[in-house]
Amino acid sequence: MNPLIESVRQRFPDAVSAFHTYRGDATVVLRRSFIVDVARFLKDDPSLAMNYLMDLTAVDYSSFGKGPVPAFFASSGVSVRPSPRVQDEDAWPGPPDQARFAVVYHFYSLTHKHRLRLVVPLDEADAELDSLSSLWPGANWLEREVWDMFGITFRGHPDLKRILMYEGFEGHPLRKDYPVKKRQPLIGPIN
């Protein structure tokens, strides 16, 4: 097993609900109440020293595997199974059960040059998570973007407001139920 996953599991046995190393990306699936503690541990522990919060994003898994079928023969596309030469420790476990959203963190350590991904599944009814902006000021804008695009609230965020869309925009465009062709023009036609 990947030593990064191992140390997170040993330190927080209750927090880790699943883990895998798919295509070499070490991933830990966390229960949401632990995110700040785990992130602080990743940052401060000298053997991990994850000083970078490289990326913070989310995925809406509500239509996973049931996308609209574009044509009657659509299922005849040839899917690619990776060649047996590719070393894969684990199979990808699939989207989180039940939960609609997954907030995805990518950490990087400058000293050890290793990466770790944390995934926190969130229910739609209760899409709230603690903010990491006290640990990494860079999380401020990233969390604003996730809120803007997915409507996931970050508790303890200093100024959670829209960042890419404008004030007054309705809905969260990267949710799968937001129609691609929906328009919300700020300025309508004359008359």
Binding site: D55, V59, P70, A74
Partner: protein, 454 residues
């Protein structure tokens, strides 16, 4: 006659002062038309500044979910539109990681050569534009001239200057043209001359140095905590370059140095970028030497070159034997993607990459392969999974996070735009500086709206 002063005012400290709110942009030339900054000024000092982005949001990530895997590539061109080849490469390598397919070595080299040319073009634009904003218009013209030479190179290979869409999942569109190595040498000669001139015009120029030195400072700790990467981070003295620290493609075989600064101010960022251009050219020169198959791909002209339409006609009547070894003469944009070049630019996987045109026109297997990849609802289908793949963009770590649900469309494509992190730190960097420093500091961010707002 002596002027009677107001006796109650003894020093300027007794004068009433008020903070002033100054709105810069989005319709301000230095803000590229897409950034708004609201600065709170005390005299000329910036007390606070609020940075507002999103004016160029086009829904890249949403649109990516509606097209197939190769259909995302034109959208990636429009992320960092000054160095689109790096975005192409990053996205394709992320999908290739998901697919688990290796690409030929020559393809890696071609991608690296074009990425590094793009990086030089990107830095030229950044340094040129920010020098222009400080009044050095000559520098801007010189650097844009050099960029033009490089874009001509890019055009020669890809057929377009900016929206290149050159990489494909599993390879590149076509091989390098015959005279690429010579043109590259000539373009670099001109670029180096421009860099020497610019170095002479700027590096010891009193006006330029005074404007750049000691402002826009960020410490290494702060830069790391904001997630800043690329030249902006390296100017603070942190030696982090994805090409060195997490080498991808064949960067580990190419010798180059990573320049780092010490003070993290505007001047250091300028110097780091100037040196990186030289290092990028060094990479390209070395890569051209090492290019498997030689610097100029030998196209073994098997048989006679036949117009593609003729091949199609002969194939339709079943005269396969007559055209088996012919090379198809196609539209110039397809040059270098024929059968001779195909095996060295594309992954050896029929489920991923289009066949050579001779096969598409000349036999049923090729035709089926082509249709299976381009027909609506077909195309590349990676297995279910998620991957993150970082490359070194011109502004820093450019990461693609791709989630696949096993269908022909990506389930989620997320870009980690390198200048997003820098822009989020901008308000901290600017606070305490003079209002005039806003321009060089913002210029040194190399904010590219396409990747910032997506």
């Amino acid at each position: 006659m002596p002027v009677e002063l107001n006796p109650t005012i003894e020093s300027s400290e007794d004068l009433e002062t008020r903070d002033m709110l100054l709105n810069v942009g989005p319709a301000h030339p230095a803000m590229h038309g897409i950034i708004r900054m609201v600065a709170k000024l005390a005299g000329e000092r910036i007390q606070e500044v609020e940075v507002e982005i999103g004016y160029l949001h086009r829904g890249f990530e949403k649109m990516s979910e509606t097209v197939d895997y190769n259909g995302v590539i034109p959208y990636t061109d429009r992320l960092n539109y000054v160095s689109p080849l790096i975005n192409n490469m990053g996205y394709c390598m992320a999908v290739e990681k998901l697919l688990g397919i290796p690409v030929p070595e020559r393809c890696h080299y071609i991608r690296i050569i074009l990425s590094e040319i793009s990086r030089v073009a990107d830095h030229l634009t950044c340094v040129g534009a920010s020098a222009m904003e400080l009044g050095a218009f000559t520098v801007f013209l010189y650097m844009i001239k050099a960029r033009e030479y490089l874009w001509e190179l890019v055009e020669k290979v890809t057929g377009a200057r900016m929206t290149v869409s050159y990489c494909r999942v599993g390879g590149v569109k076509s091989d390098l043209p015959r005279d690429f190595a010579e043109s590259c040498r000539d373009a670099f000669k001109e670029t180096r001359k421009v860099l020497r001139d610019v170095d002479g015009l700027l590096t010891r120029n009193r006006i330029f140095v005074d404007r750049m030195n000691g402002n826009g400072i960020i410490s290494a700790e702060d830069a790391i905590s904001y997630g800043i990467t690329g030249p902006f981070l390296r100017a603070t003295g942190v030696n982090y370059d994805v090409r060195k620290d997490c080498p991808y493609a064949v960067y580990d075989r190419l010798p180059f140095d990573v320049p780092v600064g010490t003070r993290g101010d505007n001047m250091d960022r300028y110097l780091v970028r100037m040196e990186e251009m030289e290092q990028s050219m060094r990479i390209v020169e070395r890569a051209l030497e090492d290019l498997p198959g030689g610097p100029v791909q030998v196209h073994p002209e098997t048989g006679r070159p036949v117009p593609a339409a003729e091949i199609v006609d002969l194939a339709k009547v079943g005269n396969i034997a007559a055209i088996a070894d012919d090379s198809a003469v196609t539209c110039p944009t397809l040059e270098g993607s024929g059968r001779a070049a195909h095996s060295s630019i594309a992954a050896d996987d029929k489920r991923v990459f289009l066949p050579a045109k001779e096969d598409t026109y000349g036999n049923i297997e090729g035709l089926m392969q082509q249709f299976k990849l381009v027909m609506f609802g077909h195309g590349v289908r990676p297995p279910r999974g998620e991957v993150y793949f970082p490359v070194e963009g011109a502004n820093g770590e450019l990461g693609f996070y791709v989630v696949s649900d096993g269908t022909g469309n990506p389930y989620r494509v997320r870009v980690r735009p390198p200048c997003f992190a820098i822009m989020s730190a901008l308000s901290k960097i600017l606070t305490g500086d003079m209002i005039a420093d806003l321009i060089p500091t913002f210029g040194s961010v190399n904010m590219i709206g396409g990747e910032l707002d997506r």
